[in-house]
């Protein structure tokens, strides 16, 4: 057991994976800790500290209401992280089911599902999410659901093409001849074989979700104030870009590094897989 863990670690021991893992772990810890604890109350205002620059007490400085930016960045990371996580969950799970059915059965069903998919795919995912939000109102739950639905088509498409490839292989015929029911063939026999592709598209999907969530919050339709969000902080910081540049800098860096960490992790995994 220990040996197999060591073997796995050795396999993934490359620059991209290591750095990506460290960055991602840092963000994960910040997100989890952010659920229970932030150095300062994220909504507490202090006029005396309005737009104060980074200092020991407030390492990222304070915003235009005198709130601690570090605490708000932590909360923003927490929100972005979990919204993105559930977005990808919804998108990939629904995508797997739709893509698998479409690719495995083919024929008319595939035709219908993929045309619906194409229609959804034709909308930029943020636009599609906007439509859903305008129908159901904003708020964290609705944003997550809207982004999740907007992410289904891209997953469905990838999963479908993988299932089409796998379904043509002899081992699938062999499983059918043994008497395996379709549902078993789809999820027990074929699914493990498309996991590598799925893992890398989930990683890319997560990054897109981070950016989409930040974009929506920037437009003011994501997470609602006074709750902190990285996108909204950026949009508010615009007015103080010269008087308090740290207000834009730190949320911006948080987004950049979150995406960078995941991209490197994905790169490292695919490098290890292709070796």
């Amino acid at each position: 057991m220990l040996q197999s863990i060591r073997k796995t670690l050795k396999k993934y021991n490359n620059f991209f994976f290591n750095v990506g893992m460290i960055i991602t772990l840092v963000f994960f810890v910040l997100a989890v800790v952010g659920c229970f604890y932030t150095p300062y109350n994220t909504t507490e205002m202090n006029v005396a500290l309005k737009n104060s620059s980074p200092a020991l007490a407030h390492i990222f400085g304070c915003d235009n209401y005198g709130r601690d930016i570090f605490s708000r960045v932590m909360e923003g990371i927490r929100n972005t992280f979990f919204i993105s996580f559930f977005t990808v969950m919804i998108g990939s799970l629904a995508g797997i089911v739709i893509g698998a059915i479409s690719g495995y059965y083919g024929g008319k069903l595939d035709e219908i599902l993929m045309r619906i998919n194409d229609v959804m795919f034709a909308f930029p995912s943020v636009l599609l999410a906007l439509v859903i939000i305008s129908l159901f109102g904003s708020g964290t739950m609705v944003v997550t659901l809207a982004l999740g639905i907007a992410f289904i088509p891209s997953f469905a498409r990838i999963v479908r093409s993988e299932y089409k490839k796998q379904a043509a292989l002899d081992y699938v015929q062999s499983a059918k001849l043994m008497g395996a029911k379709d549902i078993r063939v789809i999820f027990v026999h074929i699914l493990p074989n498309i996991l590598p592709v799925l893992v890398s598209s989930v990683m890319i999907g997560f990054n897109n979700a981070v950016l989409a969530e930040a974009g929506l919050s920037y437009l003011g339709i994501g997470v609602q104030p006074p709750e902190a969000s990285l996108g909204r902080m950026l949009s508010e910081a615009q007015s103080y870009l010269f008087s308090a540049p740290w207000y834009a800098l730190f949320p911006g860096l948080a987004i950049v590094f979150m995406v960078l960490g995941f991209s490197m992790l994905a790169e490292g995994i695919s490098a290890a897989k292709s070796r």
Partner: protein, 258 residues
């Protein structure tokens, strides 16, 4: 779609017949809706316990006939009797016929998981017995297919196909992807398992040399039609159809030669 259950659109007159077809016609339509006839009114019988060779070149319809018997392809017209429950198949390419994500032991247990109520330990016991009867060691079970050679994989495929003692085994060019010395070993294994288990085998090949010693009877298929059938020795010595003569000549087999 349920594959491989006993189905009959007619009952043959002799109880010795396991599979029988009368005027079986299969055609496919391509993208332009043009229909191509792949099997053109075939009459054939497969007798219980025999090894029937099915020879022909690409496009002769030999794989389609196998798929028709297995119920993977629908026939347009004719009558088909398949008296074997859950016939199994061994494929040509041992690299795509084993699930790359699963361990050998898991793959070989699958027929038992699906068709019996045996518990895990009994299943493992059966797999280990089967591994040894196809000439593989027990520890092969812990490996994944990509760690095995072509010959080992094909042995695993044969073992998996035999897990539930099928009455009919269809082998579609089972050795043509293997090295020559490995080919001989795998053929020998199939022959001895046939003797031991007494299943009926449909052996599809393009290699008339291999079929000579391996098959009890040979059917020559050309463009969806059976042009000749009979015992190998008689057929090779005295081929009746022009096409059979051409095939034998191409394989370097002329009367009396090696």
């Amino acid at each position: 779609m349920s594959l491989g259950s006993v189905k009959a659109s007619y009952i043959p007159d002799s109880p010795d017949i396991l599979v029988s077809g009368r005027e079986i016609t299969v055609s496919f339509s391509d993208r332009n809706e043009k229909r191509t006839t792949v099997l053109d009114g075939l009459d054939f019988d497969i007798y219980r316990g025999e090894i029937l060779g099915l020879a022909g070149e690409s496009g002769s319809g030999k794989s389609t006939l196998a798929k028709t018997i297995l119920g993977m392809v629908k026939y347009d017209s004719g009558r088909l009797y398949v008296g074997a429950d859950k016939p199994q198949m061994i494929f040509q390419d041992p690299y795509s016929s084993l699930n790359p994500a699963k361990k050998i032991s898991w793959i070989m247990q699958e027929p038992l998981r699906l068709g019996t109520n045996l518990d895990k330990n009994t299943r493992k016991q059966k797999v280990s017995e089967m591994l040894s009867s196809v000439g593989l060691s027990d520890e092969i079970g812990d490996h994944k297919p990509n760690e095995l050679s072509g010959g080992q994989r094909q042995r695993v495929c044969i073992g998996t196909a035999l897990m539930r003692n099928p009455e009919l085994l269809i082998a579609d060019e089972p050795v043509s992807a293997l090295d020559v010395t490995v080919q001989a070993q795998v053929l020998e294994l199939m022959k001895s398992l046939h003797k031991k288990h007494g299943f009926t085998m449909l052996f599809i090949s393009h290699d008339l040399r291999t079929m000579y010693n391996f098959c009890d009877r040979i059917m020559i298929l050309q463009k969806g039609k059976i042009v000749e059938s009979g015992k190998p020795d008689e057929m090779y010595r005295n081929p009746k159809a022009e096409y059979t003569k051409l095939l034998l000549e191409s394989a370097g087999i002329s009367s009396g030669a090696v």
